[in-house]
């Protein structure tokens, strides 16, 4: 077994709105990322994926507040640390975060090299500009980016190039964990592929040790990550390796998500996409019992009454449902046979 880089146990965070209402966006999340592995987080919009990413850094600012739980990065507990210490010694060096749409927030009046100088000014102020430049050229070369980019303004770069520059800048301090939040959602397929190739290379080149990848594009997640976690309403509802999560999901929500995959492969036109009706619950007052009960096809009265905990299966798989694995599989098989009969009748 590899050594664990990031270990999170029962982490909960909340947003406090200006009306002093609590919104529980991340609710008792536990996860583990080993060295050399990548973890994908999937889910609808508004399920708490990005909030989880923010919470993982251990640096909280209003309206996000920490409630309970523990984050351990490479044997070092970071929850409860002084925020200034976290900024100096954790962010960027232990854990790096690429927010959604980072490429559109580059300062248009500064050259790319300036962003890199900024990073070193905060973390290694004794480096001279020349040293920084030489280091940056080396790093960019290893990452497959042309060194001319350093002397350009962000507006001179294409979308894919901007995103790759952002990634390169974020890994310059060799963080142990990289959190990439929708790094390719605004790019077309070719630039997306370049970005993904670069992200995958980061680990081989030794820039990072593990990666957390957040997206709602399931085919992409399947191709990039080793494990997939499905989030719903702030909770983790399914945890499995990529193959099992996509082809053999257990939780009804994960099943619904996988039914909405669109890929250009033969056979797609004959399948009907399944959409999950309804919207995720408001987390201000989350429903007691199973949070997915309102939208679930297989709901029984007990679902809404008792709170559901994760069921651990062998092989590191887990899901959050009151039904056993056998019951769920039977229900899915039955449904599939009904669908088939319906299509044959047509």
């Amino acid at each position: 077994m590899n050594n664990v880089i990031l270990e999170v146990s029962e982490l909960s965070t909340k947003y406090v709105t200006r009306f002093q209402e609590d919104v529980y966006a991340v609710d008792h999340v536990s996860l583990k990322v080993e060295e050399g592995k990548s973890l994908g987080i999937a889910g609808e919009s508004g399920c708490g994926k990005s909030t989880l990413a923010l919470s993982l850094m251990g640096y909280y600012f209003a309206p996000l507040h920490y409630t309970s739980g523990e984050i351990i990065i490479d044997g070092r507990k970071i929850t409860g640390m002084d925020p200034d210490d976290i900024r100096k010694s954790i962010l960027g060096t232990e854990i790096a975060y690429i927010p959604q749409g980072a490429m559109n927030s580059l300062n248009p009046t500064q050259k790319v090299i300036h962003f890199i100088e900024d990073v070193f000014q905060a973390h290694d102020p004794y480096k001279t500009k020349k040293e920084i430049y030489e280091f940056a050229v080396d790093a960019f070369k290893t990452l497959g980016l042309p060194a001319e980019v350093l002397q350009k303004y962000p507006v001179e770069l294409s979308g894919g190039m901007k995103q790759r520059t952002v990634i390169a800048v974020s890994v310059l301090l060799f963080p142990k964990v990289l959190i990439a939040d929708e790094p390719s959602s605004a790019l077309d397929v070719t630039s997306q592929k370049m970005v993904i190739k670069m992200l995958k290379n980061l680990m081989e080149e030794g820039f990072i040790k593990s990666m957390i990848f957040i997206t709602h594009e399931l085919p992409l997640l399947y191709n990039v990550t080793d494990d997939i976690m499905v989030m719903y309403a702030g909770q983790i509802v399914e945890k499995a390796n990529a193959k099992e999560a996509v082809f053999d999901p257990l939780h009804p929500y994960a099943k619904g998500l996988m039914g909405s995959i669109i890929v250009p492969e033969s056979g797609l036109r004959n399948t009907k996409l399944t959409a999950i009706p309804g919207v995720p619950p408001n987390l201000k007052n989350p429903p007691s019992g199973c949070r997915f009960a309102e939208r679930c096809k297989y709901v029984i009265p007990t679902c809404k009454a008792i709170s559901v905990s994760m069921r651990e299966l062998e092989g590191g798989r887990a899901y959050r449902c009151i039904f056993t694995e056998k019951d769920l599989r039977e229900a899915y098989l039955k449904e599939a046979s009904i669908m088939e009969a319906y299509q044959n009748a047509k």
């Binding site: 609808e44 919009s45 508004g46 979308g159 790019l187 077309d188 397929v189 070719t190 630039s191 997306q192 592929k193 370049m194 993904i196 190739k197 995958k200 709602h216 594009e217 399931l218 085919p219 992409l220 399947y222 191709n223 996509v246 082809f247 619904g256 998500l257 039914g259 909405s260 995959i261 669109i262 890929v263 250009p264 492969e265 033969s266 797609l268 036109r269 996409l273 399944t274 959409a275 999950i276 009706p277 919207v279």
Partner: protein, 270 residues
């Protein structure tokens, strides 16, 4: 194949050039395009290939530098505002970014009321108008009672995009131009939106032009696919032919760049 069905919209030698001299940029380059009634046509290309410019030309939002557009067999004439309005009764659009598609100062009811007015319903009694709006909202699984007196920014992206479909339901245009209707919303609501669009299409007998960079989506919804590269159509044909057996190298590359789940995704080719 094209001769059997009637063409409702076609373009010949359509060109749009932006800028002059060294800044010259040919966004759409002598494009010929035929749209048959009741087809779903997809236009696929990378960003910057001229898809949206082409859409704007078809909609009449910008004037072509060269070439003609024929609508229902006749040369399109939109030289005056009145004629433009008349044209837009027949062709409507759903745009990429639902957040920018609404006038932020207008309430939701006025968005839908405008559609009723456009169909000549200005003199209808109020109860009838409300009934029409409720019907349109229930078609897209929204509740009209909850939407009245709300502003567009109070809705989520998926809801806004569904409201766009409700607009189309009221307007009943002959042609719908959907410019990346699902690129800003997540994969799960995407299936809902697509289902609604397709249902709407069968209900009111629309012709749909899909403009997208998502090849999986194009393959799923469309009958005919056009592949666009640098302002030109490089390949066209039925969806099965183009997506599953692409002939041009550009198309082959484009399709190999999409992450798939049953086939391996080769990262070494970029």
């Amino acid at each position: 194949m094209l001769n059997e069905k009637d063409k409702c919209l076609s373009a010949s030698g359509l060109t749009k050039v932006f800028g002059v001299g060294s800044q010259k940029c040919v966004a759409v380059d002598h494009v010929d395009f035929d749209l048959c009634t009741n087809d779903v046509v997809s236009i696929v290309g990378e960003s910057g290939s001229g898809k949206t410019t082409f859409a704007k030309l078809l909609l009449g939002l910008i004037n072509p530098t060269e070439g003609e557009i024929y609508f229902q067999g006749k040369k399109r004439d939109i030289r005056t505002q009145k004629k433009k309005r008349e044209y837009w009764k027949n062709i409507q659009a759903i745009f990429q970014d639902p957040y920018c598609s609404y006038n932020i100062f207008n309430k939701i009811d006025s968005v839908l009321l405008d559609c009723i007015y456009m169909r000549g319903g200005r003199m209808l009694p109020k109860a009838k108008k409300v009934e029409l709006m409720t019907e349109a909202c229930s078609f897209v699984n929204l509740k009209f009672e909850e939407l009245t007196n709300k502003y567009p920014f109070e809705l989520s992206g998926g809801q806004m995009q569904r409201l766009m479909i409700a607009r189309i339901f009221l307007l009943k245009p002959k042609i719908l131009l959907a410019d990346e209707p699902t690129s800003m919303i997540d994969a799960c609501s995407r299936a809902t939106i697509l289902d609604m669009l397709m249902q709407l299409r069968t209900e009111i007998g629309m012709t749909v032009i899909f403009i997208t960079h998502d090849i999986g989506l194009a393959y799923y919804v469309s009958d005919v696919v056009y592949i666009m590269e640098r302002g030109k159509f490089v390949e066209s044909g039925s969806a099965d032919d183009v997506i599953l057996q692409p002939r041009q190298t550009y198309t082959q590359r484009l399709i190999s760049d999409v992450p798939k789940i049953h086939e391996a995704w080769d990262l070494s080719t970029v």
